[in-house]
Amino acid sequence: MTFSPELEARFAKFLAKYPEDRKRSATIPMLIYAQDEIGSVTPELVAEVAKRVGSTPLQVEEVVGFYSMLHKGKGMGKYHVQVCTNISCLLRGGAELYEQASQKLHLGHKQVSADGFVSLEEVECMGACSWAPAVQINYDFYHDVTPEQLDKLLSGLMAGKKPEEIAEVKKVSC
């Protein structure tokens, strides 16, 4: 399998982190970064990662099923909208935000739009509880999200815009 030079460089860095006989430690980091590039965890990716870390494909396969961020099949959309409804977000309107997103996008939990651009997921606590309700689009956090802000984000995505082009609502930056 061929990957972008950036991803290859990352893989090399990952593999260098762990002791010589412990390259299996790189399995999960490799899978998640590769998924970002190719869209999902395909059987070819599983075989390739297995080869590089010195595991069997079965050993990698069983890992994939365990982690909620790793997706088989077609994977999630290009922009994956994750709405937290766990306790702190629930208390400040997270469940209503999820409903709103579901109705507006016509998508249910872990469903992807027909064009593959947007997907939705009701997620567990994402570590933003004091700034609830919280939403993540891919890896970007949005804190204290109001229904109006969510509506703008979703409208933008539905019009094919990237989240960073939706000027009215800013992600949390670091």
Binding site: T27, L31, Y33, S68, S88, C125, A128, C174
Partner: protein
């Protein structure tokens, strides 16, 4: 920072957070940075461990185990390499503090790790960060690069013959991987199922080698202890509970946020004076004092001091410092259900009582909330929960059972109000305007 500070805060771990470029090594070095590490180089391993012991520092990940004692369990004579592992999985619902410590002062964490390395003779560390925190993984990577470039990491640190290497490690979404033994499995590239203990990680952790495994905030406290002394740190908190803690205040308060306060700070003062009181002038109904695994406290139990021992005496736990405030309009059945949905989703499936118990409890609570419950379900919930307690490899089963028992015992009237086809009396009122 994502929220305004409170004048009642005692900034120790967060004292640099509001400096411009607080995350850069130059800011760190200009503000006491890496001085504790230099001091620790001149100390013996026992001196470092004794200082941490005397400081009264207890683990900030949840269990509150004395950190110095944990470090002293690492066998010095072992011929195997030793590892320092950082638990940056931060996934206990209600908890959002490790994120800030890594974001605003990453070098404080690196320095704490280095000192732990000196204390136990380790030369390699890994920071396990939950996969959702991608921006933080890259942020920590940049800080680690800076530390290498300035000679604070590498084969010959500061030319003093000290070797220590450090790297980040990404998770991929699994609450269970915050549990120390499951984290180690995940770190080794496997499913995050827990290990049987003993042996504890101090003896057989990463790659079956002696390992120190602590929470991010725990390591971040170490430089202040070494630099300013155990007595200073111990004096900040309450007896046997040294230092300050980053409390994550969330839910129905006017000013939710992360606030650094002395251990033993009063919970009602946290809600009213730091948090600006309950939102909308409503009455307080209940508080979860330390993340969703901790038994709920009724409003009249909340006049208590937030340290490990006082909260334990009130039959709850200080846990991870996530203080979740619920007002009078909150449905306790709904809260219990949402929390159980979480545990049922996150149970790793390794132990049958946890896997089956959480799923069964989720179904019973859902039935209850839908108005389809019958009186005997109240007993069933208690029975199921009690049969999970202590019967699993890791404490996730307990973490699901304990809060459920408390919800039913303390709010039995609310459970009864949902019986026999009655609709939830709080529905529509849950989210205040």
């Amino acid at each position: 920072m994502y929220n305004q500070p409170s004048p009642l805060e005692v900034p120790v771990l967060t004292r640099r957070f509001r400096l411009p470029n607080s995350h850069k090594i130059d800011t760190y070095l200009a503000n006491e940075g890496y001085q504790a590490f230099e001091k620790a180089i001149g100390m013996s391993q026992d001196d470092i461990i004794n200082e941490v012991k005397a400081s009264g520092l207890r683990g900030r990940g949840g269990a509150g185990f004395p950190t110095g004692m944990k470090w002293s369990f690492v066998p010095r004579q072992s011929p195997k390499p030793k590892y320092i592992i950082v638990n940056g999985d931060e996934s206990e619902p209600g908890t959002c503090k490790d994120r800030l410590l890594m974001e605003f002062d990453p070098h404080q964490l690196i320095e704490g790790i280095l000192i732990a390395g000196l204390a136990v003779g380790a030369h390699q560390g890994y920071i396990y960060i939950r996969g959702e925190f991608r921006y933080l993984i890259e942020h920590m990577d940049r800080a680690i690069d800076e530390a290498y470039a300035r000679g604070y990491l590498g084969d010959n640190i500061l030319g003093r013959g000290i070797k220590f290497h450090l790297a980040t490690h990404s998770g991929a979404g699994a609450y269970e991987c915050g549990e120390e033994s499951a984290l180690l499995e995940s770190f080794e590239g496997k499913r995050g199922n827990p290990r049987i203990r003993p042996p504890f990680p101090a003896v057989a952790g990463a790659y079956s080698c002696p390992t120190v495994l602590n929470n991010v905030e725990t390591y971040c406290a170490v430089p202040s202890i070494i630099l300013k002394g155990a007595a200073y740190f111990a004096g900040l908190g309450s007896p046997k509970n040294g230092g300050t803690r980053l409390f994550c205040l969330s839910g129905h308060v006017n000013k939710p946020g992360v606030y650094e306060l002395p251990m033993g700070f009063n919970l009602m003062r946290l809600i009213n004076e730091v948090g600006g009181g309950v939102r909308g002038g409503k009455k307080l109904k209940a508080v979860i004092p330390g993340g969703s695994s901790c038994p709920v406290l009724k409003a009249d139990e909340c006049d208590l001091n937030l340290d490990f021992d006082t909260v334990a005496a009130a039959k709850s736990m200080l846990g991870s410092g996530g203080v979740v405030v619920m007002d009078e309009d909150t449905c306790m059945v709904k809260a219990a259900l949402r929390i159980m949905r979480f545990y049922a989703h996150e149970s790793c499936g390794w132990c049958i009582p946890c896997r089956e118990g959480t799923t069964w409890l989720r179904k019973v609570l859902q039935r209850f909330h839908d108005g389809q419950g019958v009186k005997s379900d109240i007993v069933l919930i208690g029975d199921l929960s009690r049969n999970m307690l202590g019967r699993t490899f890791c404490p996730l089963g307990d973490a699901a059972a304990m809060p459920t028992i408390a919800f039913v015992e303390k709010f039995r009237d609310e459970f009864e109000a949902h019986l026999d086809g009655k609709p939830c009396p709080y529905e529509k009122k849950l989210v205040a305007a």
